[in-house]
Amino acid sequence: MSYAIFDIELTRPLPGLSLPAERTGLAVLARHAGVPVAFWLEQRGERTGVTAAELAREIASRAGVQLVARAVREELGAPAPARALPALTIAICTRDRPEGVARLLDSLAVLTKPEAGAGHVEILVVDNAPSDERTRALIDSRSEVRYVREPRPGLNFGRNRAVAEARGELLAFLDDDVVVDRHWLAGLAEAWNENPDAAAFTGLVLPLELETEAQILFERRGGFRRGFDKLRFGPELPGNPLYPGGAGIFGTGANMTFRTAALRELGGFDEALDTGAPVPGGGDLDIFYRVIRSGGPLVYEPRCLVFHLHRRELPGLRRQYRKSWGLGFMVYVSKCLRTDPERRGRLLGLIGWWFLHEAWQLVRSAVGRHALPPSMIVGELAGGVVGLLGGYGRSLRRTERIRLEHP
């Protein structure tokens, strides 16, 4: 099972898409002058391809409103005076994945060349408790990249090391399994210009490849996509009584940027979340929650696009549903229950909503109307139950032990 991915530019004549025989489906990313306006997946069915006319109709239907908005935006012009992006630190927290880091650095090299018009950009690789020297060796060959080692294992230990080391006014975090789009930096500059008061920025995440069943399943369930509209989140979201607790409404930790000062004021990331194998999630949800609770605002900018390499194997995906989302999410919610008593009612409502939502997904999956098999949803539910039953306390104790081991 594999899908071909097409990247279509609307300012050029549309091509017809022909599907090689070995592909079981296709995914289309449509952009206008580089700005993403639509993305969709299609199973192959009887088709061997898509004609240019069919493609045009599909794009018009999905992105027509965005394209009109684009024309209006162009007519209104950019905000004046334009504010240049301040000094930016891009932190890549990684562990034993030098090939991923190399891929990401290659994509960043295109953006941060001085002739690309970027301001001062510092790239910082945080090598988190590595089991070998491959990442250090890689960075040694790249003079423009700073290398630091964080011996305490856990993604949020690594992120906090970046918070301590960063010299930029803005601090971006990119996971070692993403590649940035060529407009990522321009998108960040645009969001910064439009939201001079924002504390955090997130962006669109699309699949880097759809080569396996696991990757296609994940993307068909919505992946990390968050839409093609600019969004701005403040302390309240009218109409959402559970706000700001929901999962994934703000974006994802694979692609997030903060005002460094805001992160330092908040005390950085919670080291008992995103701890690697025991609790491989919740760290991004928690920092977004705290940014919003401290006044925000948080801005989602679809032009800040990265491509994410999804898990290739089904067992990996299954583990991700159980631990990253089920367990990680509930550990994060139970942490919020401890630390934010003012929002207890909303958080309990969120827990209730989550279990109902998962139960409904399970029902739909059982009758064959869901992309995921029931076993994965059961796994996610089980992870949630484990997380809720003292998961945060256990993680705090583990984290304390790690701190003692690495004085």
């Binding site: 027509g64 965005q66 024309a71 209006v72 007519e75 209104l76 439009e194 600019k230």
Partner: protein
């Protein structure tokens, strides 16, 4: 009224520089209405929790807020608004012409140019404008002052003084030599409107109320919407003049949003919604409506059992019901925009809600007896009780905000509507 903070209505021309929205003491939020050259394009609500909002962020949010409306003006098909009845299944409308969408450049300038084009700006000399009023001379004076600035001007303006207590209305009208004063001693808005129809001569009759202010282009835009000969009635957008009291805010946020795209209400709409009661109250408001004069010969004048001073309201929507039932068409045209002073006091709002529902229920029963359409009874005995049950449950769960519309006067008003109909509705 603890905890209420006034909202401010901001009208912003998109192509000008936009302001920063700052929080202020005692400010509950901003209703921001986006315009391009006198064409309303959409609004965003910013409660104070979301402030401050700097101009660049507002400018970033505006294009998406107005895009469907800009599309409907310039590209039509594919951007057509659905009927404002979300509970009905409707075919999905989506843009299908990519070249047309990609070809848009400077859409706002084009849109303004299109509306100002000579063949679009209809003269309004064949329109008679009727304003019915009752003992509200101060409000009327403000209304007439705005009517005098209409450009193009209507052929005539008739002020109907309904069952007046004194001669204040006559004196106010007398200040405007171009306006005609007509006294109607029998009380009732429908009676007064029918008197206005009889006293006027234009091929089109437009109505507004004494608590309304209009921009100069209003009557021309209303008139232009009659280009389609099948359209017998036109309504327009009613925006709040101010949201400075809890009652006004509740009325605006708790009521129906009218939208900024035109809508055709035709025989398909009637057929699709008939089984559950045609939601004619979603077509428009009596404060901003017009008819071809021959409508009144075709389907009759306003029903004098309905409306303020009689059942309470719905004399406008009941007439639209007759027009649709006879196979004709009504059009909602939001470029014809007026500004309405909602009721300021909470008690006034409560009694207005009571009268609205009494009038609504009476109209349902009159529509049922006149046409034999059972959907009216479905609305009365199934949809409305279910709606009230949902709202009551919501209140018990604490979902009502400080700006929720009062519920009990609406329930009582509905019951009173049945009684009213039994007492007066059976007379002809």
């Amino acid at each position: 009224m603890t905890g209420f903070a006034r909202w401010e209505v901001l009208h912003l021309e998109l192509r000008d520089s936009l302001p920063d929205l700052e929080p202020r003491d005692g400010l509950g939020g901003y209703r921001v209405v986006f315009w391009a050259g006198g064409v309303p394009l959409g609004h965003c609500d910013y409660p104070v929790e979301l402030l401050p909002l700097r101009a660049p962020a507002l400018r970033a949010a505006a294009p998406m807020a107005v895009a469907p409306v800009v599309g409907s003006h310039l590209l039509g098909r594919g951007f057509v608004a659905p009927w404002p009845v979300p509970w009905e299944r409707q075919p999905r409308v989506a843009p299908d012409d990519l070249d047309a969408v990609l070809g848009l450049s400077s859409p706002l300038a084009r849109l303004v140019g299109q509306l100002d084009a000579p063949d679009e700006a209809a003269p309004a000399g064949d329109v008679s404008l009727v304003v019915c009023t009752r003992d509200r001379p101060e409000a009327l004076a403000r209304c007439l002052a705005s009517l005098e600035r209409l450009d193009p001007a209507p052929g005539e303006i008739v002020v109907v003084d309904n069952s007046p207590a004194n001669d204040a209305t006559r004196r106010v009208t007398g200040r405007y030599p171009g306006m005609r004063y007509v006294a109607e001693p029998r009380p009732g808005l429908s009676v007064a409107r029918n008197a206005g129809i009889r006293a006027s001569r234009g091929a089109f009759v437009a109505f507004t109320d004494d608590d309304v202010g209009v921009p100069p282009a209003w009557i021309g835009r209303l008139r232009a919407a009659f280009r389609d000969p099948e359209v017998l009635a036109v309504t327009g957008l009613v925006l709040p003049a101010r949201l400075d009291t809890r009652a006004r805010l509740a009325f605006e946020l708790g009521g129906e949003s009218w939208g900024y795209r035109s809508v055709d209400f035709d025989e398909r709409f009637f057929a699709a919604t008939r089984a559950r009661g045609v939601p004619v109250w979603r077509i428009g408001a009596g404060a901003n409506m017009a008819f071809r004069r021959h409508v009144f010969d075709l389907v009759g004048p306003f029903d004098e059992r309905l409306g303020a001073g009689a059942s309470g309201c719905s004399e406008d929507s009941e007439l639209w019901y007759r027009i649709l039932a006879a196979g004709h068409r009504c059009r909602y045209e939001p470029t014809a925009v007026v500004f309405h002073e909602h009721r300021a006091g909470w008690d006034e709002l409560r009694s207005q809600m009571y009268l609205y529902m009494r009038g609504h229920v009476t109209a349902l029963l009159i529509q049922f007896t006149r046409h034999g359409h059972w959907g009216n009874l479905y609305r009365l005995f199934v949809s409305l009780p279910a709606y009230f049950a949902r709202k009551t449950a919501g209140r018990m769960l604490g979902h009502a905000g400080p700006a929720s519309l009062p519920l009990s006067p609406r329930v009582l008003g509905s019951l009173a509507g049945i009684v009213w109909w039994a007492r007066y509705g059976l007379r002809r």
